[in-house]
Amino acid sequence: MPSANGRQLIYTDAFARPLLETASYVELFLKILVGMKQVPQKDAPLKLNESGTWIREDVSYEVNEPDAYALEEALRQKEKHGGEVVVITAGPARAQQVLREALAKGADRAIHLEDTAFVGLDAFNTARAFAAAIQDESFDLIFTGLQSDDYGYAQTGVILAELLGWPHATIIMQIEKKDAGIRVKRELEAGYFQFVDMPLPAVLTIQSGINKLRYATLIGIKQAKNKPLRKVAMADVQSSLSGNLQKIERLYVPQKTKNTEFLEGSAAEIAKKLVDKLRNEVRVL
């Protein structure tokens, strides 16, 4: 039976005595960190805060969509190669929810950079906070989503790679472990793809749809309660951060650029109005 002992996978004989480690066993063991962000739910109505620089916090939240796929991919890689899946988030207490869900789905442990102030960091500082929080760990792979639904920087993962000095690849739709490193499938524009080989450790930003998501099981939810969750305070990483390099001066509802005609009435009336437009204005009927 193989057993995970720190970073190394040790095979034992029938008497639980360690067998000679073979290089490939050790190599296939993957320790993966997954960045999981909590963002406002897709159809949550957003209201601006008093200063007009951020939204009011009283909305419902969910996990950032591509991050859910990143977690799923990490779990699948672990199931294939053995290893460990660690999830990390930076956000206020409410963000623990995404970690709990990830633990219930099969992640082994979680790291929570817990402070409301993490919400206001730019991508540079979020990545620096992550780098500081994991400095005593040694991951083979870090997955993030390709972008967040709230800020939409599309940067945190790539910045983290640069801070760690690791190679990276973005918009990933497939990951395959090779003898030396990994082969990933990058999505390009307009239906094109490309395979890229790269060494480990590496950072990958994951695209939604790379796999099919699993649901947490009842037993998983139960087990999650006993899994380790390490909290990191702002004070623990503060010395690694700087002031934000970019600043939101104001947030607002975008002005309409098009003269949109809103059709109102009962469903039947709307149907009639639409057909009238289709016939007389759009001229497709």
Binding site: K42, P45, L46, I55, D122, A123, F124, A127, D149, D150, Y151, G152, Y153, A154, Q155, V158, I159, E162, P167, H168, A169, T170, R186, E187, L188, E189, A190, G191, F193, Q194, F195, V196, D197, S208, G209, L245, K247, I248, E249, R250, L251, V253, P254, K256, T257, K258, T260, E261, F262, A267, I270, A271, L274, V275, K277, L278, R279, E281, V284, L285
Partner: protein, 331 residues
């Protein structure tokens, strides 16, 4: 030396990408607004001819930034090579199009220089001495004006379609072209990219369709796709979808509209339960008429719709199918 703006255009296989002209237009507008000079750079293995093409536009100088290691593209080579080049020229502002390639390397480049990127911007504002860059947030539901809080160079990427590429100004005479060779040692590039390819052949060519009925996640369940199909059929159009619908396998991939799918410009684009994320909009905003049905009055799709119905698609679509059938039978 006055402050300068550098536009890094994008090329593939010896051809400039169309968005390059959009970013140049943005650069020209910003140069006019700030009084800063404008330079452009093409990055690649041998790109002097492309630098000459750019030099015909109103720029002060056009650079060909070259290394054999720029071909094929890797983020390591681009970040490392451009860092050298940008440090040597010290521009105030560096502009690039927000393409998949740029978003792959520009955060690395900026980080390597200790700088930041305001990404995926749709415009800029100059308020007093302050430059603000406007970007969409919360999937386009809100917009933000963002300023730089650190030292230059300031990196900005502009969203596809944010500026008009056909509005780029031609120069009075061709600008000087300078070739800059950058040194990239062994071991800089860690990624080994293979050739680009397309997945299985496309069975439908939606670019030819005059009428497209497109469904988004508002359709809720696979079995409800049938409803949209009935409407498409009644109208004599094709069915298409947003990405999540194709990811779920509810419709085949070749029916996906958007930046990673097809780009269409039919006479009529009817969007059912689609929120209007930018990656979807780039694939259909050229449609002659856009009708959107969405239960959320603040859905970004309404910003580009000609006719808008705020409501439940399951209430609106069935009577619409009937009315269309009636109209067709009567005509």
């Amino acid at each position: 030396m006055p402050d300068s703006i550098l536009v890094v255009v994008e090329q593939r296989d010896g051809k400039l990408n169309r968005v390059s002209w959009e970013t140049l237009t943005a650069g020209q507008a910003l140069a006019a607004a700030t009084g800063w000079t404008l330079d452009a750079a093409v990055v690649g293995k041998e790109v002097a001819n492309l630098a000459h093409e750019v030099a015909a536009k109103k720029v002060q100088r056009s650079y060909a930034v070259e290394s054999p290691r720029f071909e094929p593209y890797t983020p390591d080579a681009f970040a490392f090579g451009l860092k050298q080049f940008i440090e040597s020229r010290a521009p105030q502002l560096v502009l690039m199009p927000h393409t998949y390639q740029v978003r792959d390397f520009v955060p690395k480049l900026a980080t390597a220089m200790g700088r930041t990127v305001i990404s995926d911007c749709v415009g800029y504002k100059k308020e007093g001495d302050k430059l603000l860059f406007t970007r969409q947030m919360f999937q386009g539901k809100l917009a933000a004006d963002v300023s730089f809080a650190g030292p230059p160079p300031w990196f900005v990427t502009f969203q596809n379609g944010a500026f008009r590429g056909d509005k780029v100004e031609t120069g009075a005479s061709a600008a000087p072209v300078e070739t800059v060779k950058v040194e990239l040692g062994d071991g800089v590039v860690r990624e080994k990219p293979q050739a680009m390819f397309k997945e299985a052949k496309q069975a439908v060519d939606l670019t030819q369709a005059e009428i497209i009925v497109s469904v988004g996640r508002g359709i809720k369940e696979q079995k409800n796709i049938e409803l949209a199909k009935q409407l498409a059929e009644a109208l004599g159009g094709e069915i298409a979808a947003s990405r999540p619908i194709c990811d779920s396998g509810w419709l085949p991939m070749d029916r996906q509209i958007g930046s990673s799918g097809q780009t269409v410009a039919p006479k009529l684009y009817l969007a059912l339960g689609i929120s209007g994320a930018i990656q979807h909009i780039v694939g259909m905003k050229g449609s002659r008429t856009i009708i959107a049905v969405n239960k959320d009055s603040e859905a970004p799709i309404f910003e580009i719709a000609d006719y808008a119905v705020v409501g439940n698609l399951f209430d609106v679509v069935p009577p619409l199918i009937e009315e269309v059938k009636k109209a067709k039978a009567g005509s």
